[in-house]
């Protein structure tokens, strides 16, 4: 089964455990990040917050790309979480292109444009995501599985 890729700057939080986990029937959560695996406190907290029936691991982006491209998880339903859009793009370019990227939460900063209440993207993010879209990846903005997804391609063309 294809993994589900999501950008969420809060990583594992209520939306993931209370809504996406049952919706996707998740079996594994994989955090692709170069900082999280080295943060002991964060790793402990994630282990605690994730129910025991789920597998959990955090890998540096390079290793995550290798693992995903090599299909080491077989038929497991995997959720791949990124902290930033840039991390997602790095995994994509690091040898693991994917067809759908979900953007769940990217919070506000001074130079970012508002797309929804939970998603604000900067120019660099938008350029990087355009690159992915040109290579055929669909990018949806959606915090919860019950919300209607917003297609980034459409959202960008409506503004122009």
């Amino acid at each position: 089964m294809n993994p589900f890729y999501r950008v969420d700057n809060r990583l594992v939080h209520g939306q993931i455990i209370a809504t996406w986990m049952p919706h996707l029937r998740l079996q594994r959560i994989l955090i692709a990040s170069d900082t999280v695996p080295n943060n002991a406190l964060q790793m402990t907290m994630f282990r605690m917050a994730i129910p025991q029936q789920l597998q959990f691991e955090a890998l540096p982006i390079k290793n995550a790309a290798r693992a995903l491209a090599g299909r080491v998880y077989g038929n497991e339903k995997v959720l791949v979480l990124f902290e930033t859009v840039a991390d997602a793009v790095r995994l994509f370019n690091g040898g693991n292109p994917f067809a759908l990227l979900n953007i769940g939460n990217v919070h506000h900063a001074a130079d970012r444009r508002r797309f929804t209440n939970a998603v604000y993207l900067g120019d660099a993010d938008i350029e990087a995501l355009k690159g992915l879209m040109e290579r055929g990846t669909r990018i949806e903005i959606r915090s919860l599985p019950t919300e209607p997804p917003i297609d980034l391609h459409q959202a960008l063309s409506e503004v122009r």
């Binding site: 209520g14 809504t19 939970a118 915090s143």
Partner: protein, 240 residues
Amino acid sequence: MSFDPLQLSRDALQVTLVGGLLALDRRGAFQLMVSQPLVVIPVLGLMFGQLDTALWMGALVQLLWMASLIVGASVPPNETLASVVIGGTVLLYARHFGTPDVAVQAMAILVGAPVAWVGRWLDIRLERENLSLCARADEAARAGAPFALSRLPAVGLLRTFAAEGSLIALGLVLSILCVAIARPLLGRPEVKAFEVVGIYLLPALGLAVALTTVRRRRALLLSAASFVLVLIGLRYLEVQ
């Protein structure tokens, strides 16, 4: 029963004030869950001496919005505002127009339900308006003025109370007018049809929504098993 517009508006004001206060509990203050339909409608019922109807309505409305969750930055429909309007309509109808039969209850739910979605829109607007509070907090921090910061949540609560209270009042007036005008126009077939909606459709929909909150497959089986057992048990008792 004689119709007294002054008394009706006084009662509506009472519902608005109590409902608006209870609605603050939903997100802004305490979150003791007194803002759940199951509690809100019976509280209003106690005020008007109609506890039995109110309990029943509270439970039914609770089921209908059981799946609405506040997680992270997403804003769900505001079931508290809807339940104040629905409960208020039934209770005020009982006080001023006649017996709130099943048809009236079903109509109140149908007319009041959209208030939850208008309430959602209102909540989103309020969070946007609160950006000004955020800016004032930054200012207070720059000035090193703790009192200026300490005032802000009260301002937020007042805004919420004013906005949500207005929505309750508006919804309540429209809804009670709708139901009070429409109910006498119904003939027997229409009343029967609304009874079917109130007795079969709404509980069935409520149960279906409640079932979606059970997130484990085996728990659903357990649910089905206990359902069948209790139903058979009740039938058995009846035969005895």
